[in-house]
């Protein structure tokens, strides 16, 4: 736990470093250090049989880069993908998100949108229920995603802060996996953006955790950081055994809480 926090709280330090030392020579491949901070000396096997990472070779918009971590094995009680770490090596806070999944997810495939600050390797590391680590990576060409100005007007962003939307993409069939997209309205300020009026750095203010439940069952927990895009979007799966309610609890770095729930049934 401690090393992970270190990676995340390193962000302000790096912000200062970037503000003061823009253009300084880039260090060597950061992945070995990141890997050690996150996973110690545990071996990470080639994860090509467990997950695939879909990311554009060249991002069209560095502030909204779609990424999909595709699970290549089903979530069963016997063996499932427990967590997925998504790491954008060259970003100021490299750990973009940790997704905690369960057999109730049905599928561990997760799709989200991230900011990419410079040409970088992106790593996805899955931990299966047997405690093994499986890694895959992609190289993404993009730049400026963390300092890109907010897409929305600041007043408008604050006015709809915390609003959520759920879209289900598959019909409701009891016992079968359903796919849903969760959208959370949040400016997800990185701390690397400039305030439009004062010309000061906008302090970081971002979605830190997302908890998705179906009834009482935990489906998905996301620990997130500044690399998720403005208005975070997470597409995930869950298995409704019967009609029920999907509920989401969000907490941001300013300790605001947002909750929302949607009925799931034949009509959804």
């Amino acid at each position: 736990m401690l090393p992970r926090r270190r990676l995340i709280t390193a962000a302000p330090v790096l912000v200062a470093a970037m503000a003061g030392l823009a253009g300084a020579a880039r260090a060597a491949d950061p992945w070995p250090d990141i890997k050690e901070a996150l996973f110690g000396h545990r071996p990470i096997a080639d994860g090509g049989a467990v997950i695939a990472l879909d990311a554009p070779e060249r991002a069209l918009d560095a502030a909204v880069v779609p990424m999909t971590i595709r699970a290549l094995l089903p979530q069963t009680e016997a063996r499932w993908i427990k967590t997925v770490h998504l790491v954008i090596d060259e970003n100021p806070a490299p750990l973009a998100a940790v997704f905690h999944l369960s057999p109730a997810s049905g599928s561990a495939t997760i799709e989200t949108r991230v900011r990419v600050n410079s040409y970088t390797h992106v790593h996805a590391v899955a931990e299966t229920s047997d405690g093994r680590l499986h890694g895959v990576s992609r190289f993404v060409k993009a730049a400026g995603g963390c300092s890109a100005p907010a897409l929305k007007d600041a007043d408008e962003a604050m006015a709809r802060l915390g609003r959520m939307k759920l879209r289900t993409h598959t019909p409701f069939t009891p016992g079968e996996a359903m796919t849903a997209q969760l959208l959370i309205s949040h400016p997800n300020y990185t701390g690397l953006q400039i305030d439009q009026l004062s010309r000061n750095w906008i302090p970081p203010d971002y979605v830190r955790s997302i908890l998705v439940r179906y009834g009482e069952r935990e489906i998905l927990k996301v620990e997130a950081d500044i690399s998720l895009s403005e208005d975070p979007s997470i597409t995930f799966s869950f298995v409704p055994e019967a009609e029920g309610r999907l509920s989401v609890a969000v907490e941001d770095s300013s300790e605001r809480h947002f909750e929302e729930a949607w009925p799931i049934g034949p009509g959804s």
């Binding site: 879909d54 069209l60 909204v64 400026g144 100005p149 907010a150 309205s185 439009q196 009026l197 979007s233």
Partner: protein, 306 residues
């Protein structure tokens, strides 16, 4: 390489402004002059001159509408003004915050010159300007030398047009709700019936959505009712008939809206939508290959909240 560029930069800055070669302009109506931009991205060769720039000559003063993509372009536009009139430039109007339209502003700075723009232009310039300046410096190299950000000192709120008098000739400046960008402004020359639309109208070159797709379509419906005979688009020919000139852009934006809405409805994810939604059939646009997928992303992240 860096040293070499720096040396060129010094040479460029050392060159006296008077040596700038006047931009070619065309008189589209009496006293209304337009420089037609090229349909290219920013390059060192075009010095940022990719947007249409204009000036209007009254009996006492001149108003410049958009100043170009670099200080050098602004100086060349100023040369063009001075080649056609001895009257002073009193107004420099920015149609929005994009660098190809207002990075020449500094060439006109001086006593008695007012810089006008949308009420939201100062914050657009403050938040996005530094990024635009970095990009432009990278793309233009020495050709960008001396370019700086100039914020407007006269701002126009949405719903409250401002009329400026050039001496027997009135320009009506009108600010619009978020459309192409969050700070679009038009100028209407009441005497000649010429509407300077800025990038609220793209012709020939693919429109770029950097504000709100649905907002833009709404604003276009209002624009169409303006009493103009001709329009000077932000990109495209020096002039076109009004409001017929709106048709191709309207067709593109509507097709974009409909195809993105359909993709969202079908659950097609953002990345796939950007890759797979093609340019609308039967429409021909320049510079569409990169800009269309970007428009799909901008539209998708807007429309998915509907």
């Amino acid at each position: 390489m860096r040293l070499l560029l720096a040396a060129f930069g010094l040479l460029a800055m050392a060159g006296p402004p008077a040596m700038a070669q006047a931009l070619a302009v065309e008189e589209v109506a009496p006293g209304v002059f337009v420089h037609q931009g090229v349909h290219e991205e920013f390059t060192a060769a075009n010095e940022g001159a990719i947007a249409n720039l204009a000036f209007v000559v009254g009996q006492d003063a001149v108003a410049v509408i958009d100043s170009g993509g670099s200080l050098r372009q602004g100086r060349r536009l100023r040369e063009a003004v001075e080649a056609h009139t001895g009257l002073p430039v009193r107004w420099v109007i920015a149609t929005h915050a994009h660098p190809d339209h207002l990075f020449g502003h500094a060439a006109f700075a001086g006593d008695g010159v007012r810089f006008a723009g949308h009420q939201r232009l100062p914050r657009e310039v403050a938040s996005k300007g530094p990024l635009y300046l970095d990009n432009m410096t990278r793309l233009l190299g020495a050709a960008s030398a001396g370019t700086e950000l100039v914020a407007p000192d006269v701002t126009v709120p949405v719903g409250a047009p401002l009329e400026i008098d050039l001496g027997g000739r009135v320009l009506r400046l009108q600010a619009w709700p978020t459309a192409h960008t969050a700070a679009d402004l038009t100028a209407l020359d009441l005497e000649s019936g010429t509407l300077f639309a800025g990038d609220l109208l793209f012709m020939e070159r693919l429109p770029v959505v950097d504000g709100s797709l649905t907002g833009w379509l709404d604003v276009m419906a209002e624009l169409a009712a303006l009493p103009a005979e001709r329009v000077v688009p932000g990109h495209g020919p020096a002039q076109a008939a009004w409001p017929e000139a709106l048709a191709p852009q309207r067709a593109y934006l509507k097709a974009l809206r409909d195809s993105v809405r359909e993709a969202i409805e079908q659950g097609m994810p953002l990345g796939r939508a950007a890759e797979e939604i093609p340019l609308p059939a039967g429409q021909s646009w320049l510079l569409g290959d990169e800009n269309h997928p970007r428009n799909v992303i901008a539209s998708y992240t807007e429309l998915e909240w509907e």
